[in-house]
């Protein structure tokens, strides 16, 4: 039996085991009936183990056939998720929140560690030009296209013109987002290093900040103006509610949110370095604790965990490079298990049924987004004075969308909840994200491989 076959056999056996265990529990033969413990909670242990092993094995298969490992993680998540085999149920997803919290901070720390301040300083013009033109193109064209599409979708046939534009704007901001997580995961997997990789990571991370602000503005603008007859939960929900400070003006909140997160990042960076200088023991557990701590502290203090961890990573890599070397090695070791579960969980959230109903509309949105990404990035790169070869291919790195986009889609759903628009708009948003989720890593891998920047950090640690 060759190794690929062996991996498939192991995946099938693991899935069968998990299905049998679920059936056993449903039949009331397990502990559940005796202890009163939530069956979903009890089954979460199995789900974590299953996602970890199956995602890793499918990632290996994926790599074997020339695809990025992330694609394998996502695909197995879709297969195991509630809309396909249902081995991982919707109830279990809420107990997997811990992994999300851990992963977002870990990914941002990695991203921060990848950015060199000297490079950022030198490329500021290029990065701002790329982001500005790209976001502008996607935002304007997508808003127009969505405003035209929405009234033609069966379930949204009665939508007014104003509402179509407002919701179109929200979907367009969502289309502007890219996934720093997938970018980091593919770069880590391929051990890519070079000017293209640096530019991509810096731009993706910076763009994330821009999109967060843009989304905030768009949400408060759109939700407030929804048609009177459609006033559900939406009228109660604005950016201020999301961030948690309803009494402050928008710009103050944004400033506080972003600047506060940056200051928190500096403090976290100093604390980590202090630990590395004085204690330096149990680095893996310390790292988990740091990620977890960032996620926990961010919520009550209204900070963005992504920005906080990013600044901490950036500071450590650039200010205390030598002392933080072991810490970043530990991050690299821990990345694979965390990515496996994080992306597989993201895959489980893809609703195949909704995708089946709306796939043609979603496809239109995806095509428009792709063409605007390509055009906008090329134009922005040209205006920013980026090398022509890099500028031509760079757009492929912005296609991916995953966790953050799904979370933003969830916020749109919350904003529209109680209206007739909520479910179809959410499904459309999720459908587009699903396409990009699968397409993005492929394009990114292709781009990095063609650029010749892969394998720079010693591929021996990740044997194929």
């Amino acid at each position: 039996m060759n190794t690929t076959m062996r991996k498939i056999v192991v995946i099938v056996a693991l899935v069968l085991f998990a299905m049998l265990a679920n059936l056993w529990g449903e039949a009331g033969w397990g502990h559940v009936g005796e202890s009163g413990i939530d069956p979903a909670l009890l089954a979460t242990g199995t789900a974590v183990g299953l996602l970890l092993l199956c995602a890793w094995l499918s990632g290996l298969i994926s790599r074997r056939v020339g695809l990025p490992m992330v694609t394998g993680f996502l695909l197995i998540g879709i297969v195991l998720g509630p809309s396909a085999l249902g081995v991982v149920t919707a109830d279990q997803q809420r107990y997997l929140l811990l992994i999300d919290k851990l992963a977002i901070a870990l990914i941002a720390l990695t991203a921060g560690g990848e950015i060199r301040l000297s490079f950022l300083k030198g490329s500021l013009k290029a990065i701002s030009s790329i982001i500005g033109v790209q976001v502008g193109c996607v935002l304007v064209v997508s808003t127009v296209v969505f405003a035209m599409i929405l009234p033609r979708m069966g379930s949204l046939a009665g939508i007014g013109t104003g509402d179509a534009w407002r919701i179109g704007l929200l979907l367009a901001v969502l289309a502007c987002s890219s996934s720093p997580a997938i970018a980091i995961a593919v770069v880590t997997e391929l051990r890519a290093k070079g000017p293209l990789t640096q530019l991509l990571l810096s731009a993706t991370v910076c763009k994330d900040l821009v999109v967060i602000i843009l989304f905030a503005v768009a949400l408060s603008f759109s939700v407030g103006g929804l048609a009177a007859g459609q006033g559900g939960g939406g009228e109660h929900l604005s950016l201020m509610t999301i961030i948690g400070q309803e009494h402050l003006p928008l710009m103050t909140i944004i400033g506080q949110h972003i600047v506060g997160s940056m200051v928190a990042g500096v403090i976290v960076g100093i604390l980590i370095t202090g630990y590395l200088r004085r204690v330096r023991a149990h680095l893996t557990i310390f790292l988990v604790l740091v990620c977890f701590g960032i996620a926990l502290v961010s919520k009550p203090l209204h900070l963005d965990p992504l920005i906080t961890a990013l600044i901490a990573g950036l500071l450590m890599r650039n200010a205390w490079h030598e002392i933080s070397e072991d810490f970043f090695e530990e991050i690299e070791d821990l990345s694979l298990p965390v990515y496996c579960v994080f992306f597989a969980v993201a895959g489980t959230r893809v609703d195949l049924v909704a995708l089946g109903e709306l796939w043609h509309w979603a496809l239109i949105g995806v095509v428009v987004r792709l063409s605007m990404l390509a055009g906008g990035t090329m134009l922005g790169a040209k205006l920013g004075g980026v090398d022509r070869d890099i500028g031509r291919v760079l757009w492929g790195g912005f296609v991916s969308r995953a966790g953050v986009s799904i979370a933003l889609a969830g916020l749109i759903y919350d904003a529209l909840e109680g209206t007739d628009y909520a479910t179809p708009v959410f499904n459309l948003a999720l459908g587009m994200v699903a396409f990009d989720e699968l397409l993005g890593p492929l394009m990114l891998k292709r781009m990095l491989t063609d650029s010749g920047e892969t394998g720079a950090r010693g591929a021996a640690a990740h044997p194929g």
């Binding site: 056996a13 092993l53 149990h282 298990p337 990740h462």
Partner: protein, 427 residues
């Protein structure tokens, strides 16, 4: 308080109590004994729990189930990997007979005491099934003894070194037997039938079948999976974590003891041909202290020390029984091993001989594993009984060891003084 904050608090404390700086207290023999048994950590757990600062509440612990399962799987897998054929073959016969003797006698004596003690203590306040669980758990916790010997190792002669080695090996083997016994008990399903508690033989048989079949299948699957990880450290970590959580998680769903399932999986992985377990032992060793500390902290949070006079009487009887029975078990087991290859006999009067009175550090983790699936007050009180019994036994033995050490030091000082007088007289 948010369950995530509770997890962060537990993990931070586990990190602090296992930091190098705090581990330095182990240089002191008595403190080393208390720290290795995890008793300090249990006290910290009490301090942050519902009887202390309320930082972590009992209601939050079920929400940590996946993490607790990971910890139980970790401990079980660690025990299982030790049961390698070559290691087992190298153990002297006396270790097997000692561990078996201890398991049988401890189960009979301590279950017997618990049977009467728990009934007298709880009266009608607990169900039959609850009482039966309490009895079995107290019996299982009594099996084995602490494998830490440094704190009571007084004379460093070849004979006493051999005795310390026997104590450690027998204690470790007995711990495996304790997990096995608790696992067998966990498959027993009872049902209330017309007010009477009866064993549901069909379900028990089915669960027993699962207990045997599951580790075999997962073990073989694990062997396949681990071989796919190659030499990449991140992939080895994924394979290791995945198998541990999966084995423990499936076991929990099937109502099989997670620690037993993980242990048997470890046994199978360790004994399949052509596989070196060194890589995984490295992962285990790296976090061994932290995992143990987390369980000790959890035990501290969970235990309910409001036992009433009856509970404390039961503790007294259990301590007394350990003092009476355990040294006798050790002496009986080693009766045929009076003289070693070096020609030196095992010491008959030594602080080491009191070592078996001390409880195994695995005890609190075993009770936590039972509580996870039987979340009642009785099990939290049983946990308190197990912990307090362990602390009292530990303190008694360490105090006796310290007394013995100072007696020897005194005697040596006197003999030195006599020699000086004789030498002075001679001059």
């Amino acid at each position: 308080m948010d369950v995530f904050i509770a997890i962060a608090v537990l993990a931070t404390l586990a990190l602090v109590v296992t930091s190098r700086r705090l581990l330095q207290i182990r240089r002191h023999r008595v403190l080393a004994g208390m720290a290795t048994g995890g008793w300090f950590h249990v006290l910290i757990g009490v301090a942050i729990g519902p009887y202390g600062a309320h930082v972590v509440e009992v209601e939050q612990i079920p929400l940590m189930t996946p993490m607790v399962l990971l910890g139980l799987g970790w401990i079980g897998f660690m025990l299982g990997l030790q049961a390698n054929r070559s290691v087992l073959a190298a153990l002297p016969r006396v270790v097997y007979s000692g561990a078996m003797l201890d398991a049988v006698v401890s189960m009979v004596v301590f279950c017997g005491i618990a049977w009467f003690g728990v009934r007298w203590w709880l009266g009608d306040s607990a169900t039959d099934a609850g009482m039966l669980s309490a009895v079995v758990v107290l019996g299982v916790v009594a099996v084995g003894w602490s494998v830490e010997t440094r704190s009571i190792h007084v004379a460093n002669t070849p004979g006493s070194q051999r005795l310390a080695l026997y104590i450690r090996a027998t204690g470790s083997l007995a711990a495996i037997l304790a997990v096995l016994l608790l696992g067998v008990w966990s498959v027993v399903r009872v049902r209330e039938d017309g007010g009477a508690t009866q064993i549901d033989w069909d379900r028990s048989g089915l669960t027993l079948g699962c207990s045997v079949l599951l580790p075999v299948l997962v073990g073989v699957l694990a062997r396949f999976t681990l071989s796919l990880a190659g030499s990449s450290r991140p992939e080895q970590l994924v394979a290791f974590l995945g198998i541990v959580v999966f084995a423990a998680g499936i076991a929990a769903q099937l109502a099989v003891s997670p620690i037993l399932a993980a242990m048997l999986t470890g046994v199978i992985v360790a004994n399949l041909p052509g596989w070196q377990t060194g890589v995984f032992q490295r992962f285990i060793v790296q976090a061994e202290h932290v995992v143990a500390a987390v369980f000790a902290l959890l035990a501290g949070v969970l235990m309910d020390p409001i036992l009433g006079a009856g509970g404390f009487v039961l503790i007294g009887v259990l301590v007394f029984a350990r003092i009476l029975v355990k040294p006798v078990i050790l002496r009986t087991a080693l009766a045929g091993e009076a003289r070693g290859e070096d020609g030196e006999a095992l010491p008959r009067v030594s602080a080491l001989c009191l070592g078996p009175i001390r409880q195994h550090a695995l005890g609190p983790a075993l009770v936590v594993s039972v509580w996870l699936f039987r979340q009642d007050l009785v099990m939290r009180q049983v946990l308190a009984i197990a912990v307090i019994t362990g602390v009292v036994c530990e303190v008694l033995v360490l105090w006796r060891g310290a007394a013995r050490r100072s007696a020897i030091a005194e005697a040596e000082k006197e003999s030195d003084g006599d020699a000086t007088v004789v030498e002075g007289g001679g001059a």
